[in-house]
Structures are given as structure tokens and as C-alpha cells.
């Protein structure tokens, strides 16, 4: 007879695993990926595959040759970081910039802290912000989305709704004027007109922006899938998005001429991507539901502050990174309700 295994209870394990969670998240990102391929063409595939491949490669190199420990590139976490990094850059980004981004994401933001589960900051966001600060030109020239699979030569760059709005508000125009009449300018005798897409287009993703942030609808679809699979809980997305709506709503009521309505904030920029896929990253968000509500609230408020008064048109990435830094503090101060505490 074989020897018996003697170990402590419990002797059964639920069917949950890190791998299942990670691949579940990756699966939830498919609708968003499809939308970006639809609007940005083959470039979207190039950027995503390259980013995923580079992330996995860096993790493999570091684990195998630097740490000389077990290689865990198939656990799905590097794949997610790769996709998220791709989602956070324009589709026409040069290859070499993605590779630098992947190195920062995996090498600096993840592995230098000890790998999966140890990183205080969301790796893909660190990568994105590094690129944004280092290569501002390449990171902010967004190709205009157009029909499916048009050739690269035809792709025209255009601004994001948030960036455009911020620039035009600076010159003293009102929100209504910018939204309704658009902006025209002349360069070398050619007349250009840019008008912020209407809400339907914004919802579907027909607007300028990073790969993964354009379609609010596809992102929400992925979010619902993750909620149903219990990969994420509702607390962070709801408090994040909710606080953005409330904050921008108050400003809008106070002065609709210089503050755009909350609906605009909701479906433009990286809010959905950030609230659903980035802020909910288990490793860099609080563990208790109450802590997650606070975390989401902080992300929302900081996003609005940066969007409206900050130097950048978009504040989601910075907001999440800043709140990531507060996570240990939140975890420490928010304790779950202990059993028997009420009776005392």
C-alpha cells in the first residue's frame, strides 16, 4: 500500500485558482480588444500581441536568469499586464516604445518588488505613466478611428474628446460652443474641422483615444462578466464611477459653461477602463469591501481634480496610482466587522 498523506485540515479545496482568475480577466478584455481592432485595424493587434509577448518575455528572462527561481509566466498575470499596457497606448505607437513600456511594467513595477502579489502599484499603469512622461508626443497623437481595416496611410491623427475640450476651454470658449460647433483650423492652407463625437459614438468607441479606452460598452460588458464570475466585486467600479458622476455633476450644476456634464466624463477617456480593469486589480487594491469603497472614492475624486484643474487632460492613471499608494494604509485602518462585536 502507498503511504498515507497526513496534513492539516481542510482536506478539500474550492475550485478557485489564481490562474482561473487571471485568465477570466483576460477573457473579459476580449470585447474591448475586438472593438479596438474594429476601429484601429491591424495596428491594434500588432500593439497588443507585441505588448503581451514582451511582458511575458521580460518576466521569463528575469525569473529564469536574474532570480533563478520558478518561472510562472503562464499564470496569466503577465498576459493581463501586457493587454492592459496595450490598452493604455495609442494604436500607432512605435514598436520600440511598447518594448520599453513592457520592460518598465514587468521589470520595474512588478518583478523588482518580488513578482506577482507583491507590487504596490498597478504594473501596467506604471508602464503607461512612464511612457506618457517620457514620450509625450508619441503617447498623445491618437489616430482617428475609422472604418474597419483601412490602410495605415489613411489613418489621420486627431485629439481625444477630453484633450480637445481642455484646450478649447483654455481659450475661453463655453462647453456648449465646443460640443455643438466643433473647432476648425487651417494648416498650410488646408482646412481641418474637429467635432467631439456624439454620445452614441462615444459609447460604441468611435472616438480618439488609447486602444482599450474607446468603447465604454465593451468595457462594461467585460465588467459584468467579471462580476458574474465573482472575479471582481462591485465596490470599486461603483464608487469610482459614482464619485466621478457626483463630483462632476455638482460642478456642472454650478456652472455648465465651463464644466462639462457628467455623462461626458463618464464615457470619454479612460474612466471605464480604469474603474473596471485597472483599479480592480486585486494586488494593488484594498482587501475589504469597505476599503474598496474608499479606494474607489479617492480614485474618482482625484480623477476629476486632475481632469479639470490638472495639467493633463486625463487623470485616471494618476488617480489610481496615487490611491495604490494609500492601499496599505486603508488595509490597516479598515478592519472587517468581527463576529460578536455588536453584542459587546
Amino acid at each position: 500500500m502507498n503511504l498515507l498523506t497526513v496534513s492539516g485540515s481542510p482536506h478539500v479545496h474550492g475550485d478557485n485558482s489564481t490562474k482561473k482568475i487571471m485568465y477570466g480577466v483576460a477573457f473579459a478584455m476580449i470585447p474591448t480588444l475586438l472593438v479596438s481592432v474594429y476601429f484601429f485595424g491591424l495596428d491594434a493587434i500588432r500593439v497588443t500581441l507585441l505588448s503581451v509577448f514582451a511582458c511575458m518575455l521580460f518576466e521569463w528572462i528575469i525569473q529564469k536568469y536574474l532570480i533563478k527561481g520558478p518561472v510562472t509566466i503562464t499564470d496569466g498575470s503577465a498576459i493581463i499586464s501586457g493587454i492592459l499596457l496595450a490598452f493604455n497606448v495609442p494604436s500607432n505607437i512605435p514598436t520600440w516604445i511598447i518594448i520599453i513600456g513592457a520592460f518598465v511594467t514587468i521589470g520595474i513595477a512588478k518583478m523588482s518588488f518580488g513578482g506577482l502579489g507583491k507590487n504596490p502599484f498597478n504594473p501596467a499603469l506604471v508602464g503607461r505613466v512612464f511612457l506618457l512622461i517620457s514620450f509625450p508626443v508619441q503617447m498623445t497623437s491618437w489616430p482617428k478611428p475609422s472604418a474597419l481595416f483601412n490602410s495605415l496611410a489613411d489613418a489621420v491623427t486627431g485629439p481625444t474628446p477630453l484633450g480637445h475640450l481642455k484646450e478649447e476651454l483654455k481659450v475661453g470658449r463655453t462647453v456648449q460652443d465646443i460640443l455643438e460647433n466643433g473647432t476648425s483650423w487651417t494648416v498650410d492652407g488646408i482646412n481641418y474641422i474637429y467635432k467631439i463625437p456624439d454620445y452614441m459614438d462615444q459609447l460604441m468607441g468611435n472616438l480618439g483615444g488609447s486602444l482599450g479606452e474607446i468603447s465604454a460598452l465593451a468595457l462594461i460588458l467585460g465588467g459584468i462578466y467579471m462580476l458574474m464570475r465573482k472575479i471582481i466585486s462591485w465596490h470599486i467600479p461603483v464608487s469610482f464611477i459614482g464619485s466621478v458622476i457626483i463630483f462632476t455633476g455638482i460642478l456642472w450644476v454650478v456652472n455648465p459653461d465651463i464644466y462639462v456634464n457628467p455623462g461626458f466624463h463618464l464615457i470619454t477617456g479612460g474612466l471605464m477602463l480604469g474603474a473596471i480593469f485597472m483599479a480592480t486589480d486585486m494586488v494593488s487594491s484594498p482587501m475589504s469591501f469597505k476599503g474598496q469603497l474608499i479606494f474607489g472614492l479617492g480614485c474618482g475624486v482625484l480623477t476629476v481634480i486632475i481632469r479639470i484643474w490638472g495639467a493633463y487632460p486625463e487623470g485616471v492613471s494618476f488617480a489610481i496610482l496615487i490611491m495604490n499608494a494609500f492601499v496599505p494604509l486603508i488595509n490597516r485602518s479598515i478592519k472587517p466587522k468581527r463576529f460578536g462585536e455588536v453584542a459587546r
Partner: protein, 444 residues
């Protein structure tokens, strides 16, 4: 909506394969080994010697301190020796070895199948009987039952809760008992009510045992003050504090006993044993044990004499399957892995589970991904990940401050952990160390 406890909980695969198998009386083996440590508290002291001839039901070991219990012989025959034996704890501890000869019972035990409903004993006599005949809690903790019946000065018992939850997967012994001996369980409940001086009892049963609920609900119409409550299936509802929370919506404070909120909890198996002791004068010498597992050809429930080797039970279900990798005494969530099949069945043995090789091994742990699932499922509202990390870093003060001593070791955290981290191993270590520190502190 069905009631359940308010904080945490999981729902493991139920796998109650033996639910339809009537409890069968198991022939006793040639030799039984009756360990002297069968209940919570101090071990009992043997009062028989090598060569003594003894009968079934005879007192063979006395519980001498307040929290300890008497032990009676489950067989008749000759005492071979009083010696150390490897028991379910994995340690060698004293036990009485008896060579079986016939089945001769001592005088005064009513062995008829007639159900005796009328309770003639007084409150004090009931407590004395339960004490004398070695009744202990059969839910798993084996706390001496007479101690629970003696309500401390200044406290008042308001309600008796009977635990028919059987929330552990696989186990069906209590289920069968409620189906086959429902009336005895209810009489036992009435006896416990009288012993406690309460006029209300609630029997909590999870919704996966609808036949047992129907049976007891029908029978309970003839009993005063006994209610049957159908509960949502949720682990660890059979935990004392969780069940009280479920049934009467009161939370026992940290470090306190159920009596603090006016409740006393007993298992259905205990209620049955109390019936047999008080009405039939029969000591606790046998119990129902579930023998099951995915690879077991005919899982079943057996009425077993205490001291019978677990090997005898395994042979009864078709022998040990070829690929057995682990044998667990009790349920899969809180049971104990055995290191031998030659250990005896004791009062606290509710089941024997045979796990196949691939189920036996633990999943290789990976890095904690800080998902917080362990916090969500902890029924005590603790942070298992934090306690485990403190224990891993040997920070015992922090382990204590995070209320590790509140942990009921239900295993929900480790069961849920996607990284398969050995959370409960570390928490147990932490509790052990903190326990030592508390003892030293109280001596000063």
C-alpha cells in the same frame, strides 16, 4: 429566504453519497481498544486492570476532574492490558485493550426497541445520569455534556438549540439518525430542556436534508416547545457560534460561551445519546459513523461500538481502495488525517473518509494575490491572510491582537484561497503560540 449566519461562509461540494444508506449495526471485532482521552478536558483514569472480566456497559474509566468524562466498556470480555496506543491524534496515549468474548451486558440496561417517552427523572437526576453514563458532545468537540447542563451562577439559559446542521460535506450520520430515530432525538431534546430548565428548543437543519426536516417536523407536533428550523446550506453553520447567530440572531462575544446570550447548543447525536442514557440507562458505548469517499464502492452509515478499529469499518465498505492517499477521521473541512488505519473509533468519530491519491495531495501554493477572499469568507470576521503572515513572521503579539484566538479553524479561508496558501496551518501555529503566551501571562 432561509436563515443563515451573517458573516462569511462557503459552500463546498456536498458529496453526501451515503445519505440514502440506513445505519447498519456493525459486528464488533475480536479486540477493541478504548482510549482514555475521548473527551475535551482531562483524560479519564482506568479503574480496571489486566485480566479483569468485564461486561458491556461496565464503567472502566472515571473522569476525575470537572471537565472530563466517564468511559464504559462497549464489549464484554477480558482486559488484555492498559497500555499506550497510537490514537487518532497521531500520538501514543493510554488505552484499555479488551479481548472480546460474547456480548454480555450488565444489569439494568434496557435493550428493547420500545420507545420510552415519559420523562420521570428530575432536573438534578438528569444531569447526574448524563454525567455518570459518560455522555459527551457528539458533534465533534466532545465537550462533556453534563457541564453544559450546569448553568453557571448568574447566567440564565433561555433556549436550547439542537444542532442537526451536519454542514460538513460527505457526512450523513446525523442525517440518518434524524430519519431513523427521530422520536428518540425529540425525547432526548425534551430531557435536555428539562435538565436545563428551558421551555423552548429549536432544532436547526440545513435544507439539503428535507426528508429529515419533514420527519422531525411531523413528530415534533407531539412535543411541547420544540421547533424545527430549516436553514440555508452554508458552511460552517454547524459551528456553535454560527448556529446561534443563525437561529436566534445573537452573537456570542469573543472569548465567551453560548450561555452568555442565553443559549445552549447540543448535537442531535448527543440528544439521542442522552435519550438512551436517561430513558434506557445505556451509557455512551456506540455511535453512528459515516464511511465514505469518491472511490468507495458502497459508502454507508454504521452503528459502531466505541473502540472498534477503523480498519474494521473500512473492510465493511469493501476494503481500502487501491489508490487511497489519505484517510480522514471526521469531515473534509475540519477532520483529522490519520497516519494509520488501526486506530480505534472514539466518541467523537463522526466519519471516516477515504481520499484517492490525487485528492489527497495539496495544491502547490503560489504567491498571495491579495484578493481578500479569505476575509470575505471568514465566519468570525477575521483577516486570515494577515494572521497567517504575522504567524509566518513569528510576530505573536500581532497574531493575538488580530484576534487569532477567535478562529474556529473551520478552514473556509484555505478552502477558498485561489493561491492555495496554507493559511490555517499558520493560523493554528499562531494560536498555539499565543495560547502558550496567555498561559504564561496568567501564571504571573
Amino acid at each position: 429566504m432561509l436563515k443563515t449566519f451573517k458573516i462569511g461562509g462557503v459552500h463546498p461540494e456536498e458529496n453526501k453519497f451515503s445519505a440514502d444508506q440506513p445505519a447498519e449495526v456493525l459486528d464488533f471485532s475480536k479486540q477493541v481498544i478504548i482510549p482514555l482521552s475521548q473527551s475535551l478536558g482531562a483524560p479519564s483514569k482506568a479503574i480496571v486492570e489486566k485480566g479483569d472480566l468485564i461486561k458491556v456497559g461496565q464503567l472502566i474509566a472515571k473522569g476525575e476532574s470537572f471537565i472530563s468524562s466517564n468511559i464504559h466498556s462497549s464489549v464484554s470480555g477480558k482486559v488484555l492490558k492498559v497500555d499506550q496506543v497510537l490514537d487518532q491524534s497521531g500520538y501514543r496515549r493510554p488505552a484499555i485493550f479488551i479481548n472480546v468474548d460474547g456480548d454480555e451486558w450488565i444489569e439494568g440496561i434496557d435493550r428493547s426497541s420500545e420507545i420510552k417517552k415519559e420523562i420521570t427523572l428530575t432536573k438534578e437526576e438528569i444531569v447526574k445520569k448524563v454525567h455518570e453514563l459518560g455522555i459527551v458532545g457528539l458533534g465533534g468537540a466532545t465537550f462533556p455534556s453534563h457541564v453544559k447542563l450546569m448553568v453557571p451562577e448568574g447566567k440564565k439559559a433561555e433556549v436550547l438549540i439542537i444542532n442537526g446542521v451536519e454542514c460538513e460535506p460527505y457526512l450523513t450520520a446525523d442525517h440518518r439518525l434524524m430519519l431513523e430515530n427521530g422520536e428518540e432525538v425529540l425525547i432526548g431534546t425534551s430531557i435536555l430542556m428539562k435538565g436545563l430548565g428551558v421551555n423552548r428548543a429549536i432544532i436547526g437543519i440545513e435544507n439539503n436534508k428535507t426528508d429529515a426536516i419533514a420527519n422531525l417536523a411531523k413528530l415534533a407536533l407531539n412535543f411541547d416547545g420544540i421547533e424545527i428550523e430549516t436553514l440555508k446550506v452554508q458552511y460552517p453553520q454547524g459551528g456553535e457560534k454560527q448556529l446561534i447567530d443563525t437561529v436566534i440572531n445573537r452573537q456570542v462575544p469573543s472569548g465567551k460561551l453560548p450561555i452568555e446570550v442565553g443559549a445552549v447548543v447540543n448535537n442531535v447525536g448527543t440528544a439521542f445519546a442522552v435519550y438512551e442514557a436517561v430513558q434506557k440507562n445505556k451509557p455512551l458505548i456506540e455511535r453512528t459513523v459515516t464511511v465514505t469517499g469518491k472511490g468507495v464502492s458502497k459508502p454507508g452509515n454504521y452503528k459502531v461500538r466505541i473502540g472498534t478499529s477503523i480498519n474494521t469499518l473500512i473492510e465493511k465498505v469493501g476494503g481500502l481502495p487501491e489508490n487511497t492517499g489519505k484517510i480522514v477521521s471526521g469531515g473534509p473541512m475540519m477532520g483529522k488525517a490519520l497516519n494509520s488505519i488501526d486506530v480505534p473509533v472514539v466518541k467523537g468519530t463522526s466519519g471516516v473518509l477515504l481520499f484517492e491519491e490525487e485528492e489527497a495531495r495539496r495544491i502547490e501554493p503560489t504567491n498571495c494575490i491579495r484578493c481578500g477572499k479569505c476575509i470575505t469568507v471568514c465566519p468570525m470576521g477575521l483577516e486570515p491572510v494577515l494572521i497567517a503572515q504575522y504567524a509566518e513572521s513569528e510576530m505573536w503579539e500581532e497574531v493575538e491582537a488580530e484576534r487569532a484566538m477567535d478562529c474556529i479553524e473551520c478552514g473556509s479561508c484555505q478552502y477558498t484561497c485561489p493561491a492555495a496558501r496554507p493559511l490555517l496551518d499558520y493560523i493554528r501555529l499562531g494560536k498555539f503560540k499565543v495560547g502558550q503566551i496567555i498561559r504564561i501571562r496568567s501564571k504571573k
